[in-house]
């Protein structure tokens, strides 16, 4: 049944876009390449402007120590966005986790300080457990009740944050296991342990997303929820697990908060919510779901931290940094758009193409 007298159908229907045929891989490479370029450019820019301050080892250490908590939150955000959702409650979850650890430590420490120190790993698990619990609530609302993720997590963000305020009475809690604090100050061969934690977390997330059935299902769910359901993929389970994992990562971020700074409060990192969305999108995550790269998100985290510390190095305020954040995001999106437009238009017929061949 050969059709020798015919041009291969897809070659024509494809409109010669054969080079784009490896769409997802090209997309992945592109967002990673783009972020590598951005990291290098940002780094070079500030290194040239104020090499003495920017290239100082303290500054570089600072970048490496401040990135992990944001990076872990951005990875959690990326996961939620991969399913086509979002998780606004991540920072509230992280704060609840930090507050839980601090409270437990202080409570146990009142009677037996040594015991409190030795129970540190348990407290850390408790913090991550709080994150899981928060993720469970989100997952329940999104997957079982069926609330739109942005609204469900807006609700839980407010609720979790309110809970934290009531719990702490709006004050800053002091007290954290020494082992956590020293972890925050330790470096292996010049690389802060916290940064290693980020890299390990990123590697684990990458394996889960790309190499496990659940990760692949998360991607498919985001790419087309209806087709996912019709392929026998249990959307409820996929969404539930996604929010559980992102909640757990939120809990881990809380642990990182405490390691960097032995205090916990309800309003720490208030600006992080939007920042991590910016990072996730900048790192190549499709806000409509179905596409993301872990490497891209890690690099985007570094870029923004480099810009942040660079702004400090050249004595610009955090407000000016906020302007830069927005400008970078919009610039990257504009470049994307221009690139798309230069290709043959992604016409509507692109959709009808498969059903109405040629």
């Amino acid at each position: 049944m050969s059709r020798t007298d015919q041009t291969p159908p897809q070659a024509v229907a494809d409109g010669g876009r054969a080079p784009g045929s490896l769409l997802s891989r090209v997309q992945a490479d592109r967002s990673v390449t783009r972020m590598v370029v951005l990291v290098v450019v940002a780094f070079a820019f500030f290194a040239v402007l104020n090499p003495r301050v920017f290239l100082s080892s303290i500054n570089l250490q600072n970048i490496a120590i401040s990135s992990p908590e944001i990076g872990v939150l951005a990875l959690a955000m990326m996961l939620a966005m991969l399913t086509g959702g979002i998780d606004l409650s991540l920072v509230s979850i992280a704060n609840l986790s930090a507050i839980t650890i601090s409270t437990l430590f202080t409570a146990v420490g009142e009677n037996d300080p040594a015991l409190a120190q030795s129970l540190a790993p348990l407290f850390v698990l408790a913090g991550i457990g709080v994150g899981l619990l928060g993720g469970l609530v989100n997952g329940f609302l999104v997957s079982r009740v069926g609330i739109t993720p942005i609204l469900a997590t807006l609700g839980t963000m407010q609720a979790f944050n309110g809970l934290a305020v009531v719990w702490t009475g709006g004050t800053v809690l002091y007290g954290s296991p020494d082992s956590l604090t020293s972890l925050g100050q330790t470096a292996i061969a010049g690389v802060p342990v916290l940064f290693v934690v980020l890299l390990v977390t990123a590697a684990v997330v990458a394996v889960v997303v790309n190499r496990t059935p659940i990760g692949r299902k998360v991607q498919l769910q985001g790419a087309n929820p209806v087709a996912a359901r019709y392929s026998g993929i249990d959307s409820r389970q996929v969404l539930m697990r996604t929010y559980l994992i992102s909640g757990a990562l939120g809990g881990l971020a809380g642990v990182l908060f405490l390691s960097r700074n032995p205090t916990a409060s309800a309003d720490y990192g208030a600006s992080y919510v939007l920042l991590v969305i910016v990072i996730a999108v900048l790192g190549g995550t499709n806000p409509n779901g179905g596409f993301a790269t872990v490497t891209g998100v890690v690099l985007a985290t570094l870029t923004l931290q480099i810009v942040a510390s660079g702004f400090t190095a050249i004595r610009l305020s955090s407000y000016q940094y906020a302007i830069a954040q927005g400008a970078i995001l919009i610039a990257v999106m504009v470049i994307d758009q221009v690139r798309w437009r230069r290709r043959p238009p992604r016409r509507r017929a692109g959709t009808s193409q498969a059903s109405t061949p040629a």
């Binding site: 049944m1 015919q6 024509v12 229907a13 409109g15 498919l220 392929s231 498969a354 059903s355």
Partner: protein, 504 residues
Amino acid sequence: MTTPPSPRESVPVLQVRDIVKTYGGVTALNGVSLDLFPGEVLCLAGENGCGKSTLIKIISGVEKPDSGEIIVDGVAHPAMQPADAIKSGIQVIYQDFSLFPNLTVAENIVLTSAVADRRRLYSPAGSRPAAQAIVDELGLDLDLDADVDSLSVADKQLTAICRALVSDARVIVMDEPTTALTHTEVERLFALVQRLRDRGVALVFVSHKLDEVLQVSQRVTVLRSGRHVITADAATLDPRSVARHMTGRDVDDSRSVGLVPVEGPPVLEVVDLSLTGAYEGISFTLRRGEVLGVTGLLGSGRTEIAESLFGVLPAERGTVRVDGQEVRLHTIRDAVRAGIGYVPEDRLSQGLFMDRSIADNMIAGSLDAHRTRWRTVDRAGTRTTIRGLFDRLRIKAPNVAAPVRSLSGGNAQRVVLAKWLATKPKVLMLNGPTVGVDVGSKEEILAILRAEAAAGMGVIVISDDAPELVASCHRVLVIRQGRLAHTLEGEGISVDTIRERVAA
């Protein structure tokens, strides 16, 4: 169909002259010309990738030809813009109709022309009469105040046609106009086409359903591989000869199935399945190796029965046994676990992940089956599965990493099929397996189904395409108003009997 007053004597309303269009080295159209006269219906036929879509896009100004020109009423347009095309009275009605589902019929009919006229304010009161006038003129039974969302496919199509006419369309191009219509609706559409012709409107039909199109067209133009093959009077052609021109070879759509393999053990037993408002008391048995056709009008319950067996629309009463084992089918997961696969009617939104690769699509249903003991995806295993199916189903694509969006209808359908074959189902149901698939590919897909059945699977084909049922099914169930009206077997299966029983 009565013959119109010989259109050839009048002046063509649209002339296409020596159009050449290449996409990055691939020639999509190679010197194609055609004339379109007022009051005629021209059928544009050809396989996937023959250049039909490209030609329509050029006529409607969406794409610019490399060379050649479009002449509308004697005015040459070397580089037509979509706005020029609309102003010259050329309207394309796409398969999805491009209507606004949240607006009423009247608003949909009037709004685009109001926008095109750059009117700044929309007046519902002022617009309604214009919509009413068109609907009355065509003698249609359309509720102007209904939301388009709530309309049947046929009524949506009528709305789109009315919209085109409000913009003074003189050339209407319709992409697969009969695909989603029932037999009666097709008759209604063709009656309307007759009235449009009386108004002097010229129509271009792009369709795969050759027998239907030949009934309504005066002339047929066949394209193959971007070249014009033939333009002939419809009266001198039959579906077989058109198919031959399209493919360049003889297409065999004769019955190539034997009797029911009685010796095959029953793989699916359905007893007294009922769902209020959809179907009632459906019982049948499917044997291993059998291809069972289920047909009926749109809304007869044929799709609902399939969706119940796939757990999308759980039945209220009745029992289903797979391999003798009673199964509960409340969710899609239940069905998949029981070994039932379903290739849905709406391939684009329900069957495929358009932006993902062929490989990702193929493995989407069997991720859990390809798992290592570390609970990661077994990459070697998936690669073998994907490669095997890619070759077995002869999917035409550069490689398995190509996104499904770049595939033609026939190849996209094979990917959906592959996704289910990868799950090694006991029963595979296909709803409209060859809708939007060209003749050559259709034949191959049916051959694949027959081969899979012969290898021990039970196959159910839900379709309103009588020739397809004749070509592939051992038995055909005719559903009428939710009830199993007839079971056709062996020699009893013919295009005529099926059409007669379905409509009766």
